[in-house]
Point group: C2
Chain length 421, copies 2
Amino acid sequence: MTISGSDSAPLDPGARVDMQRFCSTLDRSSSIGAGRPGGLSRLALTDADREMRDVFVAWCREAALEVRVDRVGNIFARREGREPTSAPVLLGSHLDTQANGGRFDGVVGVLGALEVVRRLADLGHTTKRPIEIVSWTNEEGARFSPPMTASGCYAGAYTVDWVHDRRAEDGARFGDELARIGYCGDAPVGGTPDAYLELHIEQGPILSAEGTALGIVSHAYASHGFQVAFTGETAHTGPWPMERRRNALVAAARLMVAVDEIGWDHAGTGGKATAARVSAWPNKAGTLSEWAEVVCDVRHECAVTAGVMAERTRRAIGEAAARSGCDATIVDSWSWGGRIFSDELAELGRLTARRLGYSWRDIPSQAGHDAYFLSRVCPTAMIFTPCRDGVTHNSEELAEPGDLEPGLNLLLHVAAARADR
Amino acid sequence: MTISGSDSAPLDPGARVDMQRFCSTLDRSSSIGAGRPGGLSRLALTDADREMRDVFVAWCREAALEVRVDRVGNIFARREGREPTSAPVLLGSHLDTQANGGRFDGVVGVLGALEVVRRLADLGHTTKRPIEIVSWTNEEGARFSPPMTASGCYAGAYTVDWVHDRRAEDGARFGDELARIGYCGDAPVGGTPDAYLELHIEQGPILSAEGTALGIVSHAYASHGFQVAFTGETAHTGPWPMERRRNALVAAARLMVAVDEIGWDHAGTGGKATAARVSAWPNKAGTLSEWAEVVCDVRHECAVTAGVMAERTRRAIGEAAARSGCDATIVDSWSWGGRIFSDELAELGRLTARRLGYSWRDIPSQAGHDAYFLSRVCPTAMIFTPCRDGVTHNSEELAEPGDLEPGLNLLLHVAAARADR
């Protein structure tokens, strides 16, 4: 197979992305799934998600990319390489957002990848390896739990059937919603790319505060999450004596407060602990609740400290249950983080940043990302760009074109270098 | 106007209700709106509520009672008196239940009133004053907040429009649901009965533990309730520093724990404090919540102590907000209780119990009841019957026919005596 315009010369070191074109795609994305003013509420597998996917796929087809959709809705858009049988370099992130989400989280990584591929085409540079853009389904987990569902499936952490059976709070089934919006593809889920590169806003204040252009993600905060169910007994809020109460909502509240205290106890070294979600039944005035569930997590840059925080959380679960006469079950738990990224790719990022003249620093990732799962199947790197004051998961999230440009150019050159290797 | 069979002789002191007939109505009720095994889940203005209302109205019509429905769905069934222009004696309670409700709470008061009226008819005893049975809409508040909505409206605490505009969690509007089930009547809401009598299971363990047949309700626990909203800010659960977090869910949890502690601090003297309901937004894994709401209350037999508990709750609201960087608003608050019942009617109850040979005791009411609102418009009494171990708002709620019979006979004789006065 021959590819027209193919050659083996390296990418011109002076090549830069077209920021105007990139910004026009970002603006289009910002108009789909309006949330609060300035923000987005484009939850996975909603009509807004479908509209964004349709627009994205149309752009990919216009760029002569070969689009395929896998059985959990991940969209891949392939630019062929000079050696079509070589494993591709995968670039991407996600297009879904939180309920009060911003315009940049995830979106920059997908549309940035599209701009990189468009720019390579402008320049007539065909890489040795194919490059594939990927948009992962339901990274945020704001509609279907857990987050990073579809990259987890790609990495073999979840089966396709299990993913399809996830239920939204409104009862909608993941698989049914995926089919409804027309994105239950027939491509098998999984693969072994040559590398995965994810460009993302930092979602923290470090780069913005320092005025540093780029973050090379060296490692991920160690994070331990828990989904905990408490069971008690319904009874009347009036006559029922305190001594006999088994109010699951009180157990949930005691755990949430304990988790917050754990976070404060480690705040001085950058630790975080969060009570993020509670549900209860019947959860009505007049009745003690017989069931309550809490989703919480603890995070620390130091894995040992994170382990200590997780152990305190486990003890707090038991104490919350005992103090309120309830039983506790850890329904699900998860851990991630550590030195999961490719040192070789990170070093390529540092060298490239230096060559392009951008300030950079090594930085840890504190949020969860699809890259965490991808690191299980191939060498993986993340590049962070500054975002104003670190505000994210909020309609006020903001990254100016000037904040994003260094990251886009770094992605262009690192992707080309890796794909030409 | 002459009423056939009317006379002015007092009711035969040997008159007793027909327990078999009463139990058959109770059994029929127990078959409508099945909940957990042994229990009911007959929430207000659902199809199950309609079915129960239809059955009840048919029974009333068979008993030649004149049925009217008011604009908030309260059903009145009138047995004419010898002096039709006299203010009626009102007997009743409610037919709706909690989500995991029992078969007796409320139901005994309505079907007990029906049995009383049927028995008076059997005996050919026409009282001087009319007797009206009433079934109040949405006493439980399990679907529409607040509880005792429609008796509150009857007593002038709420307007009809306000009641119609209440929303269920699923978004359904009270007025629309009332019309949908065919019980938005045209009778005006309100009235000035001669007296209101409500027979109810105790919903506490005292009578059952003592083996006492009857409770004459002397007063109501002083209760102070609060609906509190906290506002914070959405942010990412990962990178966002503890110092900058304004997680409304944590504020809610801190209040719920504080309320529980207040209850424990007064448990020795029978005080109770309850965190009953929480909601939050977005309430998702991955995001700090910007809004959370808690419904809680404190109760004590001593009004002064209840006031102290309420004041501590108010302080705890401020502390919970301050500790979590949130703002707090008391969206709604309510107080009830005290010596609201008629001494004269209670004394009539005691004398009648003695005459009928039943053991009795004065007892406070700890739950909320429609009678609390009725006490604002007419002399009001409540009669409690034992229920096993005090279990209520639970499918395990149980009152045997032998537990209920003394209360039904007391209601028969007190109602007749009052209506003949």
